[in-house]
């Protein structure tokens, strides 16, 4: 029960920043859906919680934050690649700034509890 609650909290926290993470993994090099999942894993984000990256990619595409193109794959169907659009780069920069601010503020509040929680 406690574990489920922890997972739910993690999922909720991720929900607000997962789009930034997706933009971050395609900022330098385009990637298709599963490749983005793989890159997230490589950077330490093994599970994205409830839901999936696909609806989020759909929203990023709708909002013009990612550009897409198709590329042939080895033997399989052509893959859909995502890359950060110029507005996606701007959104990422702003989002990262906002995230760091929030993280700093939350950390400042929670730091007072650190001794109690870890002790």
């Amino acid at each position: 029960m406690r574990r489920m609650a922890a997972e739910s909290r993690r999922s909720q926290m991720l929900r607000g920043v997962l789009d930034l993470c997706l933009l971050a993994v395609v900022i330098d090099e385009p990637a298709y859906g599963y490749e983005m999942t793989r890159r997230l894993r490589e950077r330490g984000l093994s599970t994205v919680g409830e839901g999936s990256i696909y609806p989020l990619l759909g929203r990023l595409e709708r909002e013009g934050l990612v550009a897409t193109h198709r590329e042939a794959s080895d033997g399989g169907p052509p893959r859909k690649y995502y890359s950060a659009s110029p507005s996606g780069r701007r959104a990422l920069n702003e989002g990262v700034r906002a995230w760091r601010d929030v993280r700093g503020e939350v950390d400042a509040v929670l730091a007072t509890l650190e001794a109690e929680v870890t002790g």
């Binding site: 599963y34 409830e50 999936s52 696909y54 609806p55 759909g58 052509p78």
Partner: protein, 185 residues
Amino acid sequence: MSPFVEECRREWDRLGVPDLLADEMATELEADLAEAEADGVSAAEIVGESDPRRFAATWASERGLVSEPAPPKRRRRVWPWVVVAAVFLVLLLSWLALQTLGTSHASSGRPVQVRRPRITVPNVIGMRACPAEKVALDAGLIVRHVPSRRCGARVIGQWPAPGRMVPQPHGPRYTVRLRLRRAKR
């Protein structure tokens, strides 16, 4: 096409997603799932959702391909089991209650087997009839009435026999019968 993707494709059809886009999403998903499977990653980790219809609707909705909002997430179906368990419990309790009532009814319907106290038949042989009758009555037995004209007769026999244990009388069976002989004048 995997069953999950097929189900998604059907949902996109239902929602009116243009075929071209629905095919594109289905192809993308199918290729990603196949690659994930090859990597040993489960489909659940990729789609994060066990309900293909909801997954498909959410994706299409987020892409702005449909106006219909994604259906609310189905909660894990715990409640049907709770209902089934509750119904079962109610039935079980009802059955137990009926059993208990039936037992008590049955037991109240049957004649109650109460063990009546037993008494010892006194020896009245040799006594005059009326004192003998009184002794037997005092002992709690029923005695066939002795007419007053035979009050002086002597008891020469009795049934049941003296000393026999008999239940307290509740009928003619345990009535003491005295055999009398006319008194000598």
